[in-house]
């Protein structure tokens, strides 16, 4: 059995017209579930209407005044705590700042700058050496043929000179021998 819209009518507290009221009563005669719902809701309403209004214990207003005083004291203490914390933090920041400035103005900064300078110099030397190697390697296609030509030329000249020297030696010895024979 469908309980809608009767369940809604029972609990929505909207004013029902005559026809709706009649339909609801007819449904309630047959439906035990909706009867129970209607009965229970009526019981709840009755309980609410007869329930008393609980009173606070006497002296509520005085207790509120005391609580207000305590709360203000706590707020004051908190404000003081934050103020102290703020002052201490500011002092610490100033102290640390001054310490950094003091240490950085003497040997420490000089040492650091020198280390950086020598490091930069080393890097520059390595870079220069590397560039030199690169330029030599790049010029190989021009130098090698030239060296080969020069080498071959030198070798040829040397061989020619040696042959000339040997042939002249041979010529020098031959007439002496011929003269000795002729005598």
């Amino acid at each position: 059995m469908s309980h809608q819209p009767f369940e809604t009518w029972l609990l929505s507290e909207e004013n029902l017209d005559e026809e709706q009221e009649k339909a609801l009563q007819t449904h309630l005669e047959d439906c035990r579930q909706c009867q129970q719902l209607s009965h229970s809701w009526t019981q709840v309403q009755s309980l609410i209407s007869t329930s008393g209004v609980p009173d606070p214990a006497p002296g509520f207003s005085q207790r509120w005044q005391q609580r207000l005083a305590v709360r203000r004291e706590h707020q004051q203490q908190r404000r003081m705590w934050f103020l102290t914390l703020g002052i201490l933090t500011t002092a610490l920041i100033i102290f640390l700042g001054l310490a950094v400035i003091t240490f950085s103005s003497h040997s420490l900064s000089y040492e650091i700058s020198q280390t950086f300078a020598s490091l930069a110099r080393t890097v520059a030397k390595v870079s220069h050496f590397w560039e030199m190697i690169q330029s030599v390697v790049q010029s190989f296609p021009l130098i090698i043929p030239l060296l080969v030509i020069l080498g071959l030329g030198s070798f040829s000249v040397s061989i020619t000179l040696i042959i000339t020297w040997l042939s002249s030696l041979i010529r020098l010895y031959q007439p002496v021998k011929e003269g000795v024979i002729n005598q």
Partner: protein, 198 residues
């Protein structure tokens, strides 16, 4: 009274503690009652009511004088209680925790009537404790303070349709809770008639 209240508010805005003290005196009962219904016990209700007044005093400059001061105050108390319930997860509170001095019925000198009154209070509080914080606040404002759905929406910062749906869901939960409570009660009442052999 409204003129007097406006005067107290004006003075309280100038940080006059005694002027706000008058407002505390005037509204302590409804604020405490709301907190009690929301939280389910007097100790936490006292704490929440006190805190609500402190917040109201602190943020008094935000109060719109065109609105009702009571509505604004109860709105602060409702939100505070909802936050507390979410933090502490007070889903259920035992009826044993309900203090006798709070739920005493002043019109009932008869001990039996006092007992019945306490039983009723415990039952309604247990039913309220089954609701979600915002639903509970909506029901309390609707039935204990006779707020309209628009006023509830303003107090809890919800739309009117959201209030309607929350109220419907809460009524359903309360009715179902009552059905369960009644069936449990009828079972426990039958026990004395049962056979001693059982």
């Amino acid at each position: 009274m409204e003129e007097q209240e406006a005067l107290w508010i004006t003075k309280a805005l100038e940080v006059d503690d005694s002027a706000f003290g008058h407002l505390v005196e005037q509204y302590q009962r409804p604020v405490f009652s709301l907190c009690y219904r929301m939280l389910g016990n007097s100790k936490e209700a006292e704490d929440a009511a006190q805190e609500s007044f402190l917040r109201a005093y602190r943020y008094l400059k935000r109060y719109d004088t065109n609105r009702s001061f009571a509505t604004w105050l109860l709105s602060i108390a409702s939100h505070y209680c909802i936050d507390q319930m979410r933090k502490r997860r007070l889903d259920t509170v035992s009826t044993d925790a309900l203090p006798a001095e709070i739920i005493a019925d002043h019109n009932a000198p008869n001990p039996e009537l006092v007992f019945r009154s306490r039983e009723k209070e415990a039952m309604i509080q247990n039913l309220l404790n089954t609701l979600k914080p915002t639903d509970r606040a909506a029901i309390i404002l609707r039935y204990w303070y006779q707020y309209s759905e628009i006023e509830i929406a303003e107090s809890l910062k919800l739309s009117v349709s959201a209030v309607k749906s929350r109220l419907f869901r809460a009524r359903q939960a309360l009715a179902n809770g009552m059905t369960t409570a009644e069936s449990t009660l009828s079972v426990s009442e039958r026990r004395p008639d049962e056979s001693p052999a059982l």
